[in-house]
């Protein structure tokens, strides 16, 4: 037997270690469409529970929007269910080229290439565009998919302290002689909800002849006055060489992603990007529904404006209630507890009281930085937010943490 008891035990041990460290993740069944109110079964087999959802990336509330669902239905009739081919053999339909064109216009870039996910997009970029003489300089808090993408590349890699421009400058000076340099950052950082200083990054890039890469997965569709992303917010729309983003969050939430940017870079990715060459094309339903998302966002900024109002209200309300939040301008609002046990207990109580928001602790975030991450959506009505606040305050009183400083929170022993 190839799968011997010894081999089996080695996996059981690893799983046990994960459990012993309190890091074992279990799935909660959402018996519902995605939205502000969801019906959840957890643990599996227990009675369904109605929850206010404060932890989805459904920023614009489009994941189950009737117009998007309708566009996907129509796509089935118009261009079928699947293509059973990668793009360059017989997997490119007229609608794929159309979506690429639409995304390029929306993001303000030369061209766009679609991928099955942003994870794949980030997996393609560095290996294809850089060789062993080049240097990648990344922010220390970039997303896991970028880290994996950089690992695939032959280029050397170094990091700079999170959003620390002086440190980035030091690194650029250190690697000045490299033929190609690229600065790599997330647009909005998913753990803290803070936004990259893209204007300063672009200025440094110009000074040192470095390219700029931004993953705008947590920004596309809603950050910036018309929702184009962090490059719009920072006034550097035409200065970003490579943008990657996902359709799996604000832009409909199904799946899929893209690389958008300079013509030559996109051309080369079409020739050599491995996840593009060796993985199936994007389904017609997603392709056409994503175009519908762009129709909606280009016609009106109503949804991103509502999201912004929700975000401001929630940030102010939590602060006034006496919680410590990570300051910022994104709909990712982390509520700080610092102590992992406290965050865990709070998150469980929230769940019991009908609010779904997830706690994060070491090693996902640094030691002593435990938090509950809340995420706003344009699908939230004031009634949702008021109810969620009421629950937060009720539990805050239970643990007597309202108005307490970080030091005081750390002294609470559960």
């Amino acid at each position: 037997m190839a799968y011997s008891q010894k081999v089996k035990n080695s996996y059981l041990e690893t799983l046990q270690t994960i459990k012993d460290n309190g890091l074992f993740k279990s799935e909660r069944l959402i018996c519902d469409v995605q939205g502000a109110d969801i019906e959840v079964e957890f643990p599996v087999g227990s009675a369904h529970k109605q929850l206010i959802n404060m932890c989805s990336n459904n920023y614009l509330g489009l994941s189950s929007h009737p117009e998007i669902v309708k566009a996907a239905h129509e796509a089935l009739d118009y261009r079928g269910y699947g293509l059973s081919s990668v793009r360059f053999i017989c997997g490119t339909q007229d609608i794929h080229k159309e979506l690429e064109k639409r995304l390029s216009a929306f993001l303000g870039v030369d061209d766009t290439i679609l991928f099955s996910s942003c994870f794949d997009a980030n997996g393609a970029v560095f290996e294809t565009l850089l060789d062993e003489n080049d240097i990648m300089i990344s922010d220390r808090l970039v997303h896991a998919s970028i880290i994996d993408g950089m690992r695939l590349a032959k280029a050397e890699h170094d990091t700079y302290k999170h959003s620390d421009m002086a440190h980035l400058r030091k690194k650029l000076e250190q690697y000045q002689d490299r033929p190609r340099k690229i600065i790599i950052t997330d647009g909005v950082f998913s753990m803290d909800g803070d936004i990259a200083k893209l204007d300063e990054i672009v200025a440094l890039a110009e000074e040192f002849d470095a390219m700029v890469f931004v993953d705008d997965s947590h920004a596309s569709g809603f950050i910036g006055k018309t929702g184009r992303g962090v490059h719009e917010l920072c006034g550097v729309m035409d200065k970003i060489d490579i943008i990657t983003t996902t359709f799996g969050k604000a832009l409909g939430g199904a799946s899929g992603g893209c690389v958008s940017g300079r013509q030559e870079l996109i051309d080369l990715l079409r020739q050599r990007g491995r996840p593009y060459l060796f993985s199936n094309t994007l389904a017609p339903t997603i392709t056409m529904a994503t175009m519908k998302v762009l129709d909606i966002l280009e016609a009106s900024t109503e949804r991103r404006d509502k999201l912004e109002r929700n975000m401001k209200w929630w940030r102010t309300a939590l602060t006034e209630a006496g919680f410590i939040i990570v300051k910022g301008d994104s709909p990712i609002v982390p509520v700080m507890f610092y102590d992992a046990k406290l965050a865990q207990a709070f998150s469980k109580d929230l769940y019991d009281e009908g609010v779904y928001a997830v706690g994060f602790f070491f090693p996902v975030v640094a030691q002593g930085q435990a938090r509950i991450r809340t995420q706003l959506s344009a699908a939230h009505e004031m009634s949702h937010l008021e109810k969620a606040l009421e629950v937060f305050v009720k539990i805050g009183k239970k643990y007597d943490i309202l108005g307490k400083s970080k030091e005081e929170l750390l002294q609470i022993k559960l």
Binding site: R140, I147, E156, D158, T159, K161, F362, P363, A366, Q367
Partner: protein, 76 residues
């Protein structure tokens, strides 16, 4: 060597340069250094001490403290 490594780590990795660290501080398992950032330590060691440590020897377990680092550097 220990002092040079500690100085570099304070400057390169710690947001608060006054954080107390010594040769036995657990840097990676303690969450001060992200294991993916070890490349800059590798570069520093090559430049400062002229020792090229192969990447497979630099792991979260083998480079957790400055004491361990010095032991490995001395093998090259």
């Amino acid at each position: 060597m220990e002092e040079k490594l500690l100085d570099f780590i304070r400057d390169e990795f710690l947001d608060d340069p006054d954080t107390e660290i010594d040769v036995d501080t657990k840097l990676i398992s303690g969450g001060m250094i992200d294991s993916f950032s070890l490349v800059s330590l590798q570069t520093f060691i090559a430049k400062e001490f002229g020792k090229k440590i192969p990447a497979p020897r630099i792991t979260a377990a083998s480079f957790d403290t400055v004491r361990q680092m010095v032991e490995i550097i001395n093998q090259f």
